[in-house]
Symmetry: C2
Subunit: 183 residues, 2 copies
Amino acid sequence: MYMSLKIALLGILDLAPMTGYDLKKSIEASVAHFWSADQSQIYRTLAALVADGLAEVEVIPQDGRPDRREHHITPAGRAALNDWLRSPLEPETPHDAFLMRLFFVGTLGVPATRAVLRARRSQAIAMLAGLRSVAEQDQTHREPDDRAPDDLGRRLRFATLRNGILHAEAELAWLNETKEALG
Amino acid sequence: MYMSLKIALLGILDLAPMTGYDLKKSIEASVAHFWSADQSQIYRTLAALVADGLAEVEVIPQDGRPDRREHHITPAGRAALNDWLRSPLEPETPHDAFLMRLFFVGTLGVPATRAVLRARRSQAIAMLAGLRSVAEQDQTHREPDDRAPDDLGRRLRFATLRNGILHAEAELAWLNETKEALG
DNA sequence: CACCTATACAGGACTACGCAAGTATCATTT
DNA sequence: AAATGATACTTGCGTAGTCCTGTATAGGTG
Protein backbone atom coordinates (compact mmCIF):
# COMPACT_ATOMS: atom_id res chain seq x y z
CA MET A 1 0.00 0.00 0.00
CA TYR A 2 2.70 2.42 1.01
CA MET A 3 3.91 4.89 -1.55
CA SER A 4 2.08 3.06 -4.28
CA LEU A 5 0.39 6.03 -5.90
CA LYS A 6 3.72 7.86 -5.87
CA ILE A 7 5.19 4.87 -7.65
CA ALA A 8 2.37 4.71 -10.16
CA LEU A 9 2.89 8.37 -11.02
CA LEU A 10 6.66 8.01 -11.25
CA GLY A 11 6.27 4.91 -13.39
CA ILE A 12 3.99 6.69 -15.85
CA LEU A 13 6.07 9.88 -15.87
CA ASP A 14 9.07 7.70 -16.65
CA LEU A 15 7.38 6.78 -19.93
CA ALA A 16 6.43 10.36 -20.83
CA PRO A 17 6.15 13.74 -19.10
CA MET A 18 2.57 14.88 -18.57
CA THR A 19 0.11 16.96 -16.56
CA GLY A 20 -1.97 15.78 -13.63
CA TYR A 21 -4.95 15.73 -15.93
CA ASP A 22 -3.14 13.50 -18.40
CA LEU A 23 -2.06 11.23 -15.57
CA LYS A 24 -5.64 10.73 -14.48
CA LYS A 25 -6.59 9.65 -17.99
CA SER A 26 -3.50 7.52 -18.35
CA ILE A 27 -4.28 5.68 -15.13
CA GLU A 28 -7.82 5.03 -16.27
CA ALA A 29 -6.59 3.73 -19.60
CA SER A 30 -3.72 1.54 -18.52
CA VAL A 31 -3.65 0.46 -14.87
CA ALA A 32 -7.32 0.80 -13.93
CA HIS A 33 -7.65 -2.99 -13.60
CA PHE A 34 -5.39 -3.00 -10.55
CA TRP A 35 -5.20 0.62 -9.40
CA SER A 36 -7.37 3.68 -9.25
CA ALA A 37 -6.99 7.19 -7.94
CA ASP A 38 -9.10 10.22 -7.38
CA GLN A 39 -8.18 13.36 -9.34
CA SER A 40 -7.49 15.46 -6.28
CA GLN A 41 -5.34 12.71 -4.81
CA ILE A 42 -3.27 12.66 -7.99
CA TYR A 43 -2.62 16.40 -7.80
CA ARG A 44 -1.73 16.21 -4.12
CA THR A 45 0.62 13.28 -4.68
CA LEU A 46 2.18 15.03 -7.64
CA ALA A 47 2.84 18.09 -5.46
CA ALA A 48 4.50 15.77 -2.93
CA LEU A 49 6.73 14.32 -5.65
CA VAL A 50 7.84 17.83 -6.64
CA ALA A 51 8.42 18.77 -3.00
CA ASP A 52 10.62 15.68 -2.62
CA GLY A 53 12.60 16.49 -5.77
CA LEU A 54 11.37 13.36 -7.54
CA ALA A 55 9.62 15.35 -10.27
CA GLU A 56 9.89 18.81 -11.78
CA VAL A 57 7.28 21.07 -13.30
CA GLU A 58 7.61 22.69 -16.69
CA VAL A 59 4.97 25.34 -17.24
CA ILE A 60 3.80 25.47 -20.83
CA PRO A 61 1.54 28.47 -21.53
CA GLN A 62 -1.51 27.85 -23.67
CA ASP A 63 -4.06 30.34 -24.90
CA GLY A 64 -7.63 29.84 -23.92
CA ARG A 65 -6.83 26.84 -21.73
CA PRO A 66 -5.01 26.88 -18.37
CA ASP A 67 -1.24 26.49 -18.63
CA ARG A 68 -0.02 22.94 -18.91
CA ARG A 69 1.94 22.10 -15.77
CA GLU A 70 3.91 19.28 -17.31
CA HIS A 71 5.62 17.04 -14.77
CA HIS A 72 8.95 15.43 -15.63
CA ILE A 73 10.60 12.68 -13.61
CA THR A 74 14.03 13.69 -12.22
CA PRO A 75 17.08 11.44 -11.84
CA ALA A 76 16.25 11.22 -8.11
CA GLY A 77 12.73 10.18 -9.08
CA ARG A 78 14.02 7.47 -11.38
CA ALA A 79 16.28 6.24 -8.58
CA ALA A 80 13.38 6.17 -6.10
CA LEU A 81 11.26 4.24 -8.60
CA ASN A 82 13.98 1.68 -9.25
CA ASP A 83 14.67 1.30 -5.53
CA TRP A 84 11.03 0.58 -4.87
CA LEU A 85 10.84 -1.90 -7.74
CA ARG A 86 13.76 -3.83 -6.29
CA SER A 87 12.64 -3.57 -2.64
CA PRO A 88 11.01 -6.57 -0.91
CA LEU A 89 7.24 -6.68 -1.30
CA GLU A 90 5.55 -6.24 2.02
CA PRO A 91 2.82 -8.91 2.20
CA GLU A 92 -0.40 -6.95 1.95
CA THR A 93 -2.98 -7.23 4.68
CA PRO A 94 -6.17 -8.26 2.95
CA HIS A 95 -9.38 -6.23 3.08
CA ASP A 96 -12.15 -8.04 1.27
CA ALA A 97 -15.61 -6.66 1.97
CA PHE A 98 -17.35 -9.40 0.01
CA LEU A 99 -15.85 -12.22 2.06
CA MET A 100 -16.80 -10.34 5.21
CA ARG A 101 -20.33 -10.16 3.98
CA LEU A 102 -20.39 -13.85 3.24
CA PHE A 103 -18.84 -14.66 6.60
CA PHE A 104 -21.68 -12.99 8.48
CA VAL A 105 -24.66 -13.42 6.18
CA GLY A 106 -25.43 -16.91 7.50
CA THR A 107 -27.62 -15.53 10.27
CA LEU A 108 -30.02 -14.19 7.62
CA GLY A 109 -30.64 -17.66 6.20
CA VAL A 110 -30.10 -19.52 2.96
CA PRO A 111 -32.07 -17.24 0.58
CA ALA A 112 -30.16 -14.12 1.65
CA THR A 113 -26.92 -16.06 1.29
CA ARG A 114 -27.81 -17.16 -2.22
CA ALA A 115 -28.63 -13.55 -3.13
CA VAL A 116 -25.15 -12.45 -1.99
CA LEU A 117 -23.53 -15.19 -4.06
CA ARG A 118 -25.63 -14.36 -7.13
CA ALA A 119 -24.65 -10.69 -6.92
CA ARG A 120 -21.02 -11.69 -6.72
CA ARG A 121 -21.43 -13.93 -9.72
CA SER A 122 -22.79 -11.08 -11.82
CA GLN A 123 -19.87 -8.90 -10.84
CA ALA A 124 -17.32 -11.59 -11.58
CA ILE A 125 -18.83 -12.23 -15.02
CA ALA A 126 -18.82 -8.50 -15.83
CA MET A 127 -15.25 -8.18 -14.62
CA LEU A 128 -14.14 -11.14 -16.71
CA ALA A 129 -15.82 -9.81 -19.83
CA GLY A 130 -14.20 -6.40 -19.35
CA LEU A 131 -10.74 -7.84 -18.87
CA ARG A 132 -11.10 -10.19 -21.83
CA SER A 133 -12.09 -7.40 -24.17
CA VAL A 134 -9.13 -5.27 -23.09
CA ALA A 135 -6.83 -8.27 -23.49
CA GLU A 136 -8.14 -8.96 -26.99
CA GLN A 137 -7.53 -5.39 -28.09
CA ASP A 138 -4.06 -5.68 -26.64
CA GLN A 139 -3.40 -8.81 -28.70
CA THR A 140 -4.81 -7.25 -31.85
CA HIS A 141 -2.90 -3.97 -31.71
CA ARG A 142 0.33 -5.82 -31.27
CA GLU A 143 2.80 -5.91 -34.15
CA PRO A 144 3.22 -9.50 -35.28
CA ASP A 145 7.01 -9.36 -35.43
CA ASP A 146 7.69 -7.15 -32.46
CA ARG A 147 11.34 -6.97 -31.53
CA ALA A 148 10.96 -3.50 -30.02
CA PRO A 149 13.03 -2.68 -26.92
CA ASP A 150 9.81 -2.41 -24.89
CA ASP A 151 8.72 -5.94 -25.73
CA LEU A 152 9.27 -7.03 -22.11
CA GLY A 153 7.16 -4.15 -20.85
CA ARG A 154 4.38 -5.06 -23.25
CA ARG A 155 4.40 -8.69 -22.11
CA LEU A 156 4.28 -7.63 -18.50
CA ARG A 157 1.38 -5.26 -19.08
CA PHE A 158 -0.42 -8.15 -20.73
CA ALA A 159 0.48 -10.39 -17.79
CA THR A 160 -1.30 -8.05 -15.37
CA LEU A 161 -4.44 -8.49 -17.46
CA ARG A 162 -4.02 -12.27 -17.45
CA ASN A 163 -3.69 -12.13 -13.69
CA GLY A 164 -7.09 -10.47 -13.41
CA ILE A 165 -8.61 -12.95 -15.86
CA LEU A 166 -7.33 -16.01 -14.01
CA HIS A 167 -8.54 -14.65 -10.68
CA ALA A 168 -11.97 -13.84 -12.10
CA GLU A 169 -12.17 -17.39 -13.44
CA ALA A 170 -11.10 -18.75 -10.06
CA GLU A 171 -13.80 -16.70 -8.43
CA LEU A 172 -16.43 -18.19 -10.73
CA ALA A 173 -15.16 -21.71 -10.05
CA TRP A 174 -15.33 -21.02 -6.33
CA LEU A 175 -18.87 -19.67 -6.67
CA ASN A 176 -19.95 -22.90 -8.38
CA GLU A 177 -18.30 -25.01 -5.73
CA THR A 178 -19.85 -22.93 -2.95
CA LYS A 179 -23.31 -23.09 -4.50
CA GLU A 180 -23.01 -26.90 -4.52
CA ALA A 181 -21.86 -26.94 -0.90
CA LEU A 182 -25.01 -25.11 0.18
CA GLY A 183 -27.04 -27.99 -1.20
CA MET B 1 -14.33 -0.51 1.87
CA TYR B 2 -16.81 1.77 3.54
CA MET B 3 -18.08 0.84 6.96
CA SER B 4 -16.49 -2.55 6.74
CA LEU B 5 -14.71 -2.52 10.07
CA LYS B 6 -17.93 -1.36 11.71
CA ILE B 7 -19.63 -4.33 10.09
CA ALA B 8 -16.92 -6.74 11.19
CA LEU B 9 -17.27 -5.56 14.78
CA LEU B 10 -21.07 -5.71 14.69
CA GLY B 11 -20.92 -9.16 13.14
CA ILE B 12 -18.65 -10.49 15.86
CA LEU B 13 -20.54 -8.73 18.66
CA ASP B 14 -23.70 -10.33 17.29
CA LEU B 15 -22.19 -13.72 18.13
CA ALA B 16 -21.06 -12.71 21.64
CA PRO B 17 -20.55 -9.51 23.63
CA MET B 18 -16.91 -8.69 24.24
CA THR B 19 -14.25 -6.05 24.91
CA GLY B 20 -12.11 -4.29 22.32
CA TYR B 21 -9.24 -6.44 23.41
CA ASP B 22 -11.27 -9.59 22.81
CA LEU B 23 -12.36 -8.28 19.43
CA LYS B 24 -8.76 -7.83 18.36
CA LYS B 25 -8.01 -11.45 19.20
CA SER B 26 -11.23 -12.66 17.66
CA ILE B 27 -10.45 -10.90 14.39
CA GLU B 28 -7.00 -12.43 14.32
CA ALA B 29 -8.41 -15.87 14.97
CA SER B 30 -11.36 -15.88 12.60
CA VAL B 31 -11.34 -13.30 9.82
CA ALA B 32 -7.63 -12.54 9.49
CA HIS B 33 -7.49 -14.23 6.07
CA PHE B 34 -9.63 -11.47 4.56
CA TRP B 35 -9.60 -8.64 7.07
CA SER B 36 -7.27 -7.10 9.58
CA ALA B 37 -7.41 -4.16 11.91
CA ASP B 38 -5.10 -2.24 14.13
CA GLN B 39 -5.89 -2.25 17.83
CA SER B 40 -6.35 1.50 18.09
CA GLN B 41 -8.62 1.47 15.06
CA ILE B 42 -10.79 -1.16 16.73
CA TYR B 43 -11.21 0.98 19.83
CA ARG B 44 -11.98 4.07 17.77
CA THR B 45 -14.54 2.25 15.66
CA LEU B 46 -16.08 0.68 18.74
CA ALA B 47 -16.50 4.17 20.25
CA ALA B 48 -18.19 5.27 17.02
CA LEU B 49 -20.60 2.33 17.22
CA VAL B 50 -21.54 3.34 20.76
CA ALA B 51 -21.95 6.98 19.70
CA ASP B 52 -24.28 5.85 16.91
CA GLY B 53 -26.34 3.68 19.28
CA LEU B 54 -25.32 0.48 17.48
CA ALA B 55 -23.58 -0.95 20.55
CA GLU B 56 -23.75 -0.44 24.31
CA VAL B 57 -21.08 -0.73 26.96
CA GLU B 58 -21.46 -2.79 30.09
CA VAL B 59 -18.71 -2.07 32.59
CA ILE B 60 -17.69 -5.15 34.54
CA PRO B 61 -15.31 -4.33 37.41
CA GLN B 62 -12.39 -6.66 37.93
CA ASP B 63 -9.76 -6.58 40.65
CA GLY B 64 -6.18 -6.17 39.61
CA ARG B 65 -7.02 -5.86 35.95
CA PRO B 66 -8.70 -2.87 34.25
CA ASP B 67 -12.51 -3.02 34.14
CA ARG B 68 -13.93 -5.00 31.26
CA ARG B 69 -15.81 -2.61 29.00
CA GLU B 70 -17.97 -5.27 27.41
CA HIS B 71 -19.69 -4.15 24.22
CA HIS B 72 -23.13 -5.52 23.36
CA ILE B 73 -24.84 -5.10 20.01
CA THR B 74 -28.15 -3.18 20.26
CA PRO B 75 -31.30 -3.84 18.22
CA ALA B 76 -30.33 -0.81 16.08
CA GLY B 77 -26.91 -2.39 15.60
CA ARG B 78 -28.45 -5.66 14.52
CA ALA B 79 -30.67 -3.76 12.08
CA ALA B 80 -27.68 -1.85 10.65
CA LEU B 81 -25.76 -5.11 10.23
CA ASN B 82 -28.66 -6.82 8.47
CA ASP B 83 -29.24 -3.80 6.23
CA TRP B 84 -25.61 -3.83 5.17
CA LEU B 85 -25.65 -7.58 4.55
CA ARG B 86 -28.65 -7.16 2.23
CA SER B 87 -27.38 -3.97 0.54
CA PRO B 88 -25.89 -4.13 -2.97
CA LEU B 89 -22.16 -4.85 -3.03
CA GLU B 90 -20.31 -1.81 -4.29
CA PRO B 91 -17.71 -3.07 -6.78
CA GLU B 92 -14.40 -2.49 -5.02
CA THR B 93 -11.78 -0.33 -6.65
CA PRO B 94 -8.68 -2.50 -6.79
CA HIS B 95 -5.34 -1.52 -5.25
CA ASP B 96 -2.77 -4.19 -5.98
CA ALA B 97 0.80 -3.09 -5.30
CA PHE B 98 2.29 -6.29 -6.70
CA LEU B 99 0.68 -5.87 -10.12
CA MET B 100 1.85 -2.27 -10.16
CA ARG B 101 5.36 -3.43 -9.51
CA LEU B 102 5.15 -5.96 -12.29
CA PHE B 103 3.66 -3.40 -14.66
CA PHE B 104 6.65 -1.09 -14.29
CA VAL B 105 9.54 -3.46 -13.58
CA GLY B 106 10.16 -4.17 -17.26
CA THR B 107 12.49 -1.19 -17.57
CA LEU B 108 14.89 -2.92 -15.16
CA GLY B 109 15.26 -5.94 -17.43
CA VAL B 110 14.50 -9.64 -17.34
CA PRO B 111 16.53 -10.64 -14.23
CA ALA B 112 14.84 -8.01 -12.02
CA THR B 113 11.49 -9.12 -13.41
CA ARG B 114 12.20 -12.74 -12.58
CA ALA B 115 13.18 -11.72 -9.05
CA VAL B 116 9.83 -9.99 -8.57
CA LEU B 117 7.97 -13.06 -9.79
CA ARG B 118 10.02 -15.40 -7.59
CA ALA B 119 9.27 -13.30 -4.51
CA ARG B 120 5.58 -13.41 -5.36
CA ARG B 121 5.76 -17.16 -5.75
CA SER B 122 7.21 -17.60 -2.27
CA GLN B 123 4.47 -15.48 -0.80
CA ALA B 124 1.75 -17.35 -2.65
CA ILE B 125 3.10 -20.71 -1.48
CA ALA B 126 3.27 -19.52 2.13
CA MET B 127 -0.24 -18.11 1.90
CA LEU B 128 -1.57 -21.34 0.45
CA ALA B 129 0.07 -23.46 3.14
CA GLY B 130 -1.34 -21.23 5.87
CA LEU B 131 -4.86 -21.36 4.50
CA ARG B 132 -4.72 -25.11 3.99
CA SER B 133 -3.64 -25.77 7.55
CA VAL B 134 -6.45 -23.59 8.92
CA ALA B 135 -8.92 -25.32 6.61
CA GLU B 136 -7.79 -28.76 7.76
CA GLN B 137 -8.22 -27.84 11.42
CA ASP B 138 -11.65 -26.53 10.55
CA GLN B 139 -12.56 -29.86 8.94
CA THR B 140 -11.18 -31.86 11.85
CA HIS B 141 -12.86 -29.93 14.64
CA ARG B 142 -16.22 -30.30 12.95
CA GLU B 143 -18.76 -32.66 14.46
CA PRO B 144 -19.46 -35.47 12.01
CA ASP B 145 -23.25 -35.30 12.37
CA ASP B 146 -23.69 -31.57 12.74
CA ARG B 147 -27.29 -30.48 12.51
CA ALA B 148 -26.67 -27.40 14.68
CA PRO B 149 -28.54 -24.20 13.82
CA ASP B 150 -25.26 -22.54 12.89
CA ASP B 151 -24.41 -25.15 10.28
CA LEU B 152 -24.88 -22.58 7.50
CA GLY B 153 -22.56 -20.14 9.23
CA ARG B 154 -19.94 -22.84 9.61
CA ARG B 155 -20.12 -23.71 5.92
CA LEU B 156 -19.80 -20.06 4.96
CA ARG B 157 -16.80 -19.53 7.19
CA PHE B 158 -15.22 -22.53 5.51
CA ALA B 159 -16.16 -21.11 2.11
CA THR B 160 -14.18 -17.94 2.82
CA LEU B 161 -11.14 -20.14 3.42
CA ARG B 162 -11.77 -22.05 0.18
CA ASN B 163 -11.96 -18.72 -1.61
CA GLY B 164 -8.49 -17.83 -0.43
CA ILE B 165 -7.17 -21.26 -1.36
CA LEU B 166 -8.56 -21.16 -4.90
CA HIS B 167 -7.17 -17.67 -5.46
CA ALA B 168 -3.75 -18.67 -4.15
CA GLU B 169 -3.78 -21.65 -6.53
CA ALA B 170 -4.84 -19.37 -9.39
CA GLU B 171 -1.96 -17.05 -8.54
CA LEU B 172 0.50 -19.94 -8.73
CA ALA B 173 -0.95 -21.09 -12.05
CA TRP B 174 -0.62 -17.54 -13.37
CA LEU B 175 2.97 -17.36 -12.16
CA ASN B 176 3.82 -20.53 -14.09
CA GLU B 177 2.14 -19.22 -17.22
CA THR B 178 3.90 -15.87 -16.90
CA LYS B 179 7.27 -17.48 -16.36
CA GLU B 180 6.77 -19.41 -19.60
CA ALA B 181 5.73 -16.26 -21.43
CA LEU B 182 9.03 -14.59 -20.53
CA GLY B 183 10.83 -17.33 -22.39
C1' DC C 1 -28.71 30.54 -26.67
C1' DA C 2 -28.34 27.34 -23.05
C1' DC C 3 -26.10 23.36 -21.85
C1' DC C 4 -22.59 19.94 -21.81
C1' DT C 5 -17.98 18.25 -22.35
C1' DA C 6 -13.06 18.70 -22.34
C1' DT C 7 -8.95 20.81 -20.52
C1' DA C 8 -6.45 22.05 -16.23
C1' DC C 9 -5.94 22.83 -11.49
C1' DA C 10 -6.92 23.96 -6.26
C1' DG C 11 -8.65 23.24 -1.69
C1' DG C 12 -11.70 22.02 2.25
C1' DA C 13 -14.07 18.42 4.87
C1' DC C 14 -14.15 14.01 6.03
C1' DT C 15 -13.20 8.83 6.69
C1' DA C 16 -10.14 5.10 7.42
C1' DC C 17 -6.16 3.46 8.97
C1' DG C 18 -1.53 2.31 10.92
C1' DC C 19 2.47 3.13 14.03
C1' DA C 20 4.10 4.28 18.31
C1' DA C 21 3.97 5.20 22.93
C1' DG C 22 1.81 5.64 27.43
C1' DT C 23 -1.03 3.87 31.70
C1' DA C 24 -1.93 0.22 34.87
C1' DT C 25 -1.74 -4.41 37.27
C1' DC C 26 -1.10 -9.23 37.92
C1' DA C 27 1.09 -13.72 36.88
C1' DT C 28 4.72 -16.28 35.15
C1' DT C 29 9.23 -17.11 33.81
C1' DT C 30 14.21 -16.61 33.93
C1' DA D 1 14.84 -9.81 41.61
C1' DA D 2 14.05 -8.45 37.02
C1' DA D 3 12.08 -9.16 32.76
C1' DT D 4 8.21 -10.76 29.92
C1' DG D 5 3.59 -11.34 28.69
C1' DA D 6 -1.38 -11.03 29.23
C1' DT D 7 -5.27 -8.05 30.14
C1' DA D 8 -7.46 -3.52 28.93
C1' DC D 9 -7.68 0.88 27.11
C1' DT D 10 -6.07 5.84 25.50
C1' DT D 11 -3.85 9.45 22.74
C1' DG D 12 -1.12 11.67 19.30
C1' DC D 13 0.81 11.87 14.73
C1' DG D 14 1.02 11.04 10.10
C1' DT D 15 -0.53 8.91 5.60
C1' DA D 16 -3.81 7.67 2.11
C1' DG D 17 -7.80 8.28 0.24
C1' DT D 18 -12.70 10.00 -1.36
C1' DC D 19 -16.22 13.48 -2.30
C1' DC D 20 -17.54 17.86 -3.43
C1' DT D 21 -17.07 22.50 -4.88
C1' DG D 22 -14.88 26.27 -7.17
C1' DT D 23 -12.15 28.63 -11.02
C1' DA D 24 -11.18 29.40 -15.92
C1' DT D 25 -12.07 29.00 -21.05
C1' DA D 26 -12.99 26.87 -25.59
C1' DG D 27 -15.81 24.27 -28.58
C1' DG D 28 -19.65 21.54 -29.91
C1' DT D 29 -24.79 20.09 -29.65
C1' DG D 30 -29.60 20.57 -29.26
